[in-house]
Symmetry: C2
Subunit: 552 residues, 2 copies
């Protein structure tokens, strides 16, 4: 098995026949070009086509994807392109369709697929200058632009830090989860850094760090509506999910500042160090924006990291009309924004921004063959290593749409949400559950008889009716999804009306600029029809009737 | 500032003029189609073109990317496409060029950019079925195929687990760093899981976990050639970088099993629990493969997680000829493989595989609006949240190249490395530093006079000569990089010849199937010429001459 290193033995034959793998590096592209024309030029047309069949109707298609045998020999490009079209792409979810208003990803600017093709062909790795060239500078600039949007530092600040090799103003990463984790990682490492002979948590680990600093534990404080990625971060960072402390929200889904104060006091009494308070600028479920300025005050008093999860809402800062909702975000130590949400960039591109470049010193690293000390390599300041050039897509949108264009998309989405909220409020058989702050809202189907019964029923009966109502909501949502014409998502919220009881609701995200008022009217009509057709409706009505009889 | 919710106020005008952002969702694509033709159809031709100027010659181009002002109004597609071409894409690194043999990413199959365009247009988010449809099943199948390649379980195993909602055989993620972190996160959580009234580290955190289990600390054991992402993982997970315990390598760059035994004994005596032993299947610096079977024995004896970082080498399992090097990998608890390396998929796509689906139970999670309990949503078992459909690219390569085609690429790359090693060994003025096991090797420029002087010089003189030699190596590498015709990377290795002294070396990765023998010959010729032209050469020669005079 010793390798034969003689030159003769290993001489090359680069022009093989059918067996030569090289030919696949220069295959006939006709089949794939057809796919491009059919799908990538007008995705919405593809989704609206007759042959398109979203997965609601066919679930995971396990039978198609059942084999674990590697294909031994090559499939022809035409055969594989046909397979991809018929068995895969025809059965994805039409997230770009204007009738699919339940997702945070919607349609993209028309030039995006072209740009993605070019970026894939260049195949740059932005972890280091050596494999990314000019893209290193470009990414730093994009991060700087977003930093300025959030923190509005002066030109001296950006002149000094934008291209400083040993610091970064933030990083682009695969999504909000990695971005939140990066911010909280830096926060943890700064709080428990090297000091008084202690090597720092990054070297010595959590146990030694808490012993040195004399804390019994760490906590991350966030509203009960915090994204589930924060629980993951608490787990991964060794803090523990039980130490992600939830604070109740008010009727608008915003963190209650009085309860935050109570929480901070309680933690202090238990010698648990609050490592970070997280404000949410656009909750995933209702789009609520926490009172960031008030949270900043409390974080400042406590000498605690103030992190803002603006993964969804961050792009709203572009809108002169709506920016006021985020007052206080400029006081955050770190902010997370997703580019693949309201910046209309393809999956997956998130971003973490640090107000002070000093934060990235807490997570800096190097290696001999990469991200060397003193280099401008982006990988010195990131949780991820090798990464693609998602920054180019964000850069293109910032230029081709401009701040004004993006702001119009934001404003229009919020207008659409207000329109839909009004429309729901006018229906006798629907209930608006959360008013839109951004372009999200929640509601449910609630016929007048049920509403009346809930108001008068005994507690026991009311519980049963609420259970049946939840079942109906879930049933309508699933029937609509499976019909495949439109899509509304659902979630569970704690009801302020019924003493914190969880209730199932429809959830709508109005980010697609092609979603019209007529589409929104149709969605309610369809839900009303599905409700009537649902077997859960009869069960609910029987309960309501029984409750009514008892009242009489 | 109260939102106006009247229907009249928010009525839409979708057909705006120049100001309407919608037009950018349907912009004229001519400019971007030109970019596609120029770059994406034949990237190697684009890189070989006269106007192409790799960044070596112009560094980070900070002046181009200096402004942090957001563009206020839209730029025209033509103007932006021109800017991207002239200021960005012409100055990236030509990683697909066959003369650039220093990177782990090289060229891609010709259909890849087309497929990337389609995937971007579909813009699916594989975190959940609702936003990915058939791609959920496809990703599970791809993970299963790779799982079988590594672990070769029987059909009953895959029949049971491949599409099981509550388990996963692994996950696709943004790259090897996240993949390694995911594996070690699961390992940590399993070791310190819920037991005897303890809630588990995932809920209670590191301090409570070590207290409950009675350990003074945790350690991750890996060879000194471990990838820098493992240090990051030790930091993030709260274990601490100092507890990533390095084991010295033998002259072939493989972990020394005798020293591993010593390390394990030492940790036990200090009541430090070895959480995982990491074997490397293809080190980043020399492509060395650790003795995986022997490591598996020790991990088994110690009841310790055995993780294999095969980010680079994993694809070698496809080669019937070379697979023997990885004997023992099938005994690993977890394995990491990068798809964007020798699976020839665009950046960034990594993968973690767990031998037993039980491992993913350690990191499972859910939320109300996503990844619900019982759902098949992929996001229940991943560190990342929202993700793109990189699995499609890997799926296409597995089909269009087939196992045989990919294996030919692997074999050919290793043949090329053996050819280059022989070529270097035949040169009087070069020294092969590490023999290729996979398609990586390291070497340096070492004229005969310097070689002779090193053999006879006093220790003090030898140190000085070695320093000057390192400086020359770095100088040649940087001059070659800046000239922009070809690229070889460099790293620093501990020399076995000079008692563990670090030495600078050239590092070559021969993964591009278009790299010919003639190109490799040219690379040595160019380096020889650059050495002669380097100012560091004169300094080295003066030292050698002085040393010679002393000898006489």
């Amino acid at each position: 098995m010793t390798p034969d290193t003689s030159l003769e033995k290993t001489s090359q034959s680069t022009d093989g026949g059918d067996d030569c793998p090289l030919r696949w590096f220069d295959a006939d592209l006709g089949a794939f070009e057809s796919l491009e024309r059919l799908i990538a030029e007008h995705p919405a047309d593809f989704f609206a086509g007759k042959s398109f069949e979203p997965v609601g109707a066919c679930h995971t298609r396990e039978a198609v994807f059942a084999s674990v045998e590697l294909p031994e020999t090559p499939t022809s490009p035409q055969a594989h392109a046909d397979h991809l079209l018929h068995d895969v792409f025809r059965h994805v979810m039409p997230v770009a369709s204007p009738t699919f208003v339940g997702h945070m990803t919607s349609s993209l600017p028309s030039f995006m697929p072209s740009l993605a093709k070019v970026v894939a062909a260049l195949n740059q790795n932005v972890v280091k200058l050596e494999t990314s060239g000019a893209l290193t500078g470009l990414e730093r600039q994009v991060v700087g632009m977003l930093h300025k949007l959030v923190f509005s530092q002066d030109s001296a600040f950006y002149g000094k830090w934008l291209h400083d090799a040993d610091h970064a103003l933030g990083a682009i990463c695969s999504g909000g989860t990695v971005a939140n984790l990066t911010a909280l990682w830096a926060s943890r490492n700064k709080l428990l850094g090297a000091r008084d002979g202690f090597a720092g948590i990054h070297r010595a680990g959590m146990v030694a760090a808490l012993r040195h600093y004399g804390y019994d534990g760490l906590a991350i404080v966030v509203s009960e509506r915090g994204h589930y990625s924060l629980g993951k971060a608490a787990d991964v960072l060794g803090i523990g999910r039980d130490n992600l402390v939830p604070v109740e929200v008010d009727s608008e889904g915003r963190m209650r500042i009085d309860l935050l104060r109570d929480t901070m006091r309680d933690l202090q009494q238990r010698n648990i160090r609050p490592m970070a308070i997280v404000g949410i600028a656009g909750t995933t479920e209702t789009g609520s924006v926490d009172p960031l300025d008030a949270i900043a005050d409390i974080a400042q008093e406590a000498g605690c990291h103030f992190h803002v999860d603006a993964a969804w809402g961050g792009a709203t800062l572009l809108s002169e009309r709506e920016r006021w909702r985020f007052a206080g975000i400029e006081r955050a130590d770190s902010v997370v924004i997703d580019a693949h949400k309201q910046f209309y960039v393809p999956m997956g591109a998130g971003m973490v921004l640090f107000r002070s470049p000093a934060w990235t010193q807490e997570i800096i690293q190097h290696a001999n063959y990469i991200v060397r000390k003193g280099s401008v390599d982006l990988g010195r300041h990131t949780l991820e290593g090798s990464r693609g050039a998602a920054a180019v897509m964000l850069y293109a949108n910032l230029h081709l749409l401009g701040r004004k264009g993006l702001a119009q998309l934001i404003d229009r989405s919020i207008d659409n949400a207000h329109y839909f909220a009004s429309l729901i409020a006018q229906q006798p058989d629907f209930e608006l559950v959360s008013h839109p702050q951004l372009c999200l809202l929640t509601y449910r189907y609630l016929p007048e008889t049920v509403r009346a019964a809930l108001a008068t029923a005994s507690e026991d009966k009311r519980e049963k009716i609420l259970d049946a109502l939840d079942t109906l909501t879930i049933s309508i949502q699933e029937m609509q999804r499976d019909a495949g014409r439109s899509f509304v998502s659902r979630t569970q919220l704690t009801s302020t009306q019924f003493a914190g009881r969880p209730i199932a609701v429809f959830r709508v995200v109005l980010a697609n600029p092609d979603t019209t008022h007529a589409i929104l009217q149709d969605i309610l009509d369809e839900q009303r029809m599905l409700a009537a057709a649902s077997p859960c409706m009869a069960a609910l009505m029987a309960l309501v009737e029984a409750s009514g009889r008892l009242q009489r």
